[in-house]
Amino acid sequence: MRVTAAILVAALLCLWGVSQTYALETDYQRQNADPYQISAAFQRLEPLRAAVPEDAVLGYVTDTETGSAVESAMFLAAQYVLAPRLLEKNVTHEWVLGNFTRPADFAAFGKTKSLRLERDFGGGVVLFRRER
């Protein structure tokens, strides 16, 4: 009797645990839906993706703070969306992706790094070309 009761209590505890997990997880996920906006990155970067060949290696510039979580997230999200194109955080390549969080004078920004604005895709996505 004692063993049967213990087995049933253990099973009920598991059911209680999974119910609690469901309640917490659904709440947590509602509050943390796509925090790095990966789905949005696909939409933002799709025009650039269509314009750049698959075997390209692109440089990368941004207006986010170097070493910040936002910078890492934006870079890796762009890499994820644009693969198999390869991104490198420098401006030494002929083609350079500009990935910006705010509207700005992108042509002037590029000029400071010897980059010519080739095409503005909107949404802070810009393709620069290295000036020779």
Binding site: C14, Y22, A33, D34, I38, V57
Partner: protein, 461 residues
Amino acid sequence: MPGLIWVLEAVLLGCLLVYRWTDLRAVNPRPARMLLIFGAGTAGGIGLTSCIFFLAGPLMKLAPADPLVELALLAWVGYLCFRMPPHSPASSPRLRSRLAVPLAAALVVTLVIAAAAILSGLEANPHGYWDAWAIWNLRARFLISGGGLAARAWSPVLGATTHAAYPMLLSSFVARCWLFGNVTSAVVPAAASLAFFLALVALVTGGIAVLRGGTLGLLAGLSIAATPSLLHQIPALYADVPLACYMAGAVIFLLLEQPLPAGIFAALSAWTKDEGILFLLVFLAASAVWRRSAIRAVVAGALPVAVLLIGFKRFLAGGSSSLFFNSLPGAAHRILDPARYGTVLSAFEHEFISMGIGWYHPLLPWAVLAVALGLDPKQRRTMFFVGAIILVLLAGDFGVYIVADNDLAWLVQTSLNRILVQIWPLLAIAAFLALRSPDVFGPAPQLPAKSGRKARRATSR
């Protein structure tokens, strides 16, 4: 949807291979046999097709022929299974536990609720959490590209910002389904993650049911399926749940006197994540000490995938440095810093407590059972075997935290919960094996007739 079909094809192929070429088809009772075949087939099928894809596609550039080869293999194995004589039902004693039906129902309800929680996570984050899109599925996107671009998945350029040298099982499997299905849908990694979770529950439930009776098997499965921290990791789409599945499978198979699948699963764990490499080494050492007669078969099972892993690490990803080698400069200074030991110990304690939710901790159901059933001293040898593996794994992870060059607080905060998720199923296996079985007056569990003497020895231990 087309990608999903290739996930299911891998599961079906794995189940047929396990049914045809392992002794699991002779395991009794029948529900445990079905669970073990499903669990082994699912994880094994995903692992096998991932390895075939990686070898044929990115390495040998034969990808276009790959789906046809797999379908031909599926048809052939299906034919061989069809031609096999049916298993005699007379040798299948019924599971007579009075509580088997309510416990099985509780397990089904638990899995349904768990699936609902997982789906809410997948709906909110279809691309998974950070590592899923920054490491695992990122590399899958490289692997599906033609020409020489697949090699960018382990390029040092990529390695500068993410972990290009991590083992390839998960990335390669996702790439396989994407390429064969001609779609890069987020459904594929989600389905793979869910499949590994179900395989894990099936392996633990079926394995403990054979070794210690149906009641404890179902309770072990319930305990795993209701672990909050484990459930949180499934929609993350990381490699930790697949790793946990392979590690648990390897231990279960060795305890079931199935050394060849045990070796295969141990090697697949190493091909899943770097922590699995440590597991493979520890598992081989523990097998050599506690299961000496099985070690040759374990090594034979592990060898093919281990060779693939060594080849990948040595010749392909050699340009990308690992956490270990990055941490060597200044390691002596960190090893001699007593503050780091305190930080890591308190993090272990905190994360272990955090595996639960509210006042529920996954250890609680086991504690209730331990009070009522007590521990079985005959299980001591098995306990030493599984316990030693767990302790060495924990010690290894502890050591990595001590020497790692990264910011320690950040490192433990972002990884320790997942380390515990990897090891938790092993701990659950050890804990449930240690209990006295409430099914002692029912029919004795039967292991494959081929290894009957060994099986009786194992059961008596």
